[in-house]
């Protein structure tokens, strides 16, 4: 075990997986010589050479599109999108091809590519460096999505994504790249996709979250300690989703607050709430509430704290489900 920041755990996963499998190839803007704008790919080019840690042109659709061809040539590309909102040019390739190509070959060819990117707000950055685009990705058939909240999971989920036979998008909470530090297993470490994690045990309310909202929910749980015993469920893998863990937790607590920082309408929190409505309605003692970003463009950073779900908003929702 070594104590690592979240971004260092990502870097460690890339080193381990590239060492383990010579067909793993990292590509993206500034990933080589610079080691990535967040240093997630630092040291890879020195260790594995310019052919396996590739500085690409500034062209996200080209990165994802050529990665499809690289898969067909036998590679396992790991594409870095420099920022959440910069990934959108790649959606054309992702939706039309990454998620469909295996199906289109009748399952004869696999497209084991990984797309990873820093996501989310609260970092006092210029416009379009703050988005939470998970809904676009989860909504794409054929594509899996994972979002870690801790350094150990950042390593383990990325390793699982790289080894997965299907395309996986991994969103990394950039807010916690260098604020979250913990002991991370050395060497090979895989956290299987499709397994949620109970981040904190509780008995009155389940706070359902992923990524940067998990530590926020943990703080909210502390804040209402004495009023309510909150369980915090870290979804970790949005697709495949660990429905059993979600239903089991809510069966125990009877109340759920789902938290996401993306805008509310058609966000992943709506999917989680819908599953609870379909499958847990008789376990529920209160309506499921959502705490989300608002349905507006992500604001300039001097007022971003008003947009981001806060401890106060989550605590307020907890009190409302308790009072229902």
């Amino acid at each position: 075990m070594t104590e690592r920041f979240l971004v260092e755990a990502v870097n460690d996963a890339l080193h381990v997986e590239m060492e383990r499998d010579p067909t793993v190839l990292v590509m993206g803007e500034d990933v080589g010589r610079l080691g990535g704008v967040f240093r997630a790919t630092a040291g890879l080019q020195e260790r594995f050479g310019r052919e396996r840690c590739v500085d690409t042109p500034l062209a996200e659709a080209g990165i994802v599109g050529t990665a499809v061809g690289l898969c067909m040539a036998g590679w396992r590309p790991v594409c870095e999108m420099q920022y959440d909102a910069f990934s959108y040019p790649g959606l054309d390739q992702l939706i039309n091809h990454v998620g469909r190509y295996r199906w289109r070959t009748g399952g004869k060819m696999e497209f084991p590519l990984t797309i990873r990117m820093p996501y989310g707000g609260g970092v006092r950055a210029p416009e379009l460096h703050d988005d939470s685009p998970e809904a676009y990705y989860v909504h794409t058939p054929g594509v899996k999505v994972a979002i870690p909240s801790t350094p150990a999971d950042a390593k383990g989920l990325l390793a699982a994504a790289i080894r997965d036979p299907d395309p996986v998008v991994v969103l990394e909470p950039k807010l916690h790249y260098r604020t979250s530090k913990q002991e991370v297993p050395d060497g090979e470490h895989v956290v299987p996709l499709g397994e949620a994690r109970i981040a904190r045990e509780g008995s009155d309310v389940t706070l359902v979250a992923y990524g940067a909202m998990v530590p926020l929910c943990e703080r909210a749980a502390e804040a209402v300690d004495g009023e309510a015993s909150c369980e915090v469920l870290d979804i970790r893998s949005l697709k495949p989703l660990d429905e059993d863990a979600l239903l089991a937790s809510v069966a125990k607590t009877g109340r759920a607050v789902v938290v996401q920082e993306a805008p509310r309408v058609s966000g992943f929190a709506a999917e989680l709430a819908a599953i609870l409505a379909e499958k847990a309605i008789f376990d529920l003692r209160a309506p499921v509430l959502r705490v989300t970003g608002y349905d507006v463009p992500y604001p300039y950073w001097q007022i971003e704290d008003a947009y981001m779900p806060s401890v106060e908003r989550v605590a307020d929702a907890v009190r409302r489900v308790l009072a229902a």
């Binding site: 690409t56 050529t66 690289l70 067909m72 390739q93």
Partner: protein
Amino acid sequence: MTEVVPADRSLRRVIGDAEAVADGEVDGLGPDELLALYRDLVLLRTYDERSVVYHRQGRIGTYAIFWNHEAMQAGSAFALEERDWIFPAYRESAIGLVRGMPVSTVLSWWRGHPAGWWDPREFNVASICVPIATQIPHAVGFAWGSALKGEDRVALTLFGDGATSEGAFHEGATFAGVMKAPVVLFCNNNQWAISTPLSAQTAAPTLADKAVGYGIPGVRVDGADVLAVYEATREAVERARAGEGPTFIEAVTYRAAPHATADDPSLYVDLERVEDARETECVGRFERYLRRAGVLTDELVEEIRAEMLERMRAGIADAEAEPPADPALVFEHAYADPPPSLADDLAELRRILGS
């Protein structure tokens, strides 16, 4: 490093007109090769003409016609080795036929039946790409990735004039140039993107002019001259194999048929140009060339046409004989390792269908 200069504006031609322009020859193409190429042209022509009929008869769905594109498709593919890959758009839906793909597979694709799935590695032909230009980055990535693995494989990708306006073309060509990918970017410039003429597509004097901006040589050929197409592609493939990177080929023709079976081109095309194009269409031109060269006889023409018609008859019969697809195929193949929720969905569907 070779300097990349603007493309020669004139169109390369090999086939003459039996009057002012003499026939040329292509090194390495003897009577056997010429006849093999002719057979590919007739195969594709027969496929295309019969497909329009099958559509009218309600036996296949909407169909994208490629009449007078056969020389560009067969001529470019003929310049490849079997190990080289082809990345087609929907206009080249039947290009797998020249690689031995069954006619019924392509017809099944147009019938919307899962029997139209194929394993790209079986024929070294990628799946048909419908969104315009998006197959270009795939071809570039494949060529780049193959070279990285030390494999001697060239990728050929085909697309239309309209595709050169797409971001995917720009990004694909950019990567091709930078990665020095062994890829041939083959543009069928038939002057129309459905109803949009080339003049509304770009202000560039020629499409080959675009290539220089990517550091890629651009060449122009007569797209209805199968020998010129073949020769230009062969040179591009040789460059690619020699590690000299990509080539952009602009093959110029005039679309002499509707965009697809759902289209009415009389609303927008220049009918005189269509008449000209029909008179100089590629299969007839090559046929006359081969007759002048003494390679082709009336008997042989009839024999080859009859053979291809028979292949089509057998192909549509096979496609129509496919049993109805199992609805479970809705769920299969989307994932190698599917999310558990798909099993619940399949169970629900089976319950509703009572199957």
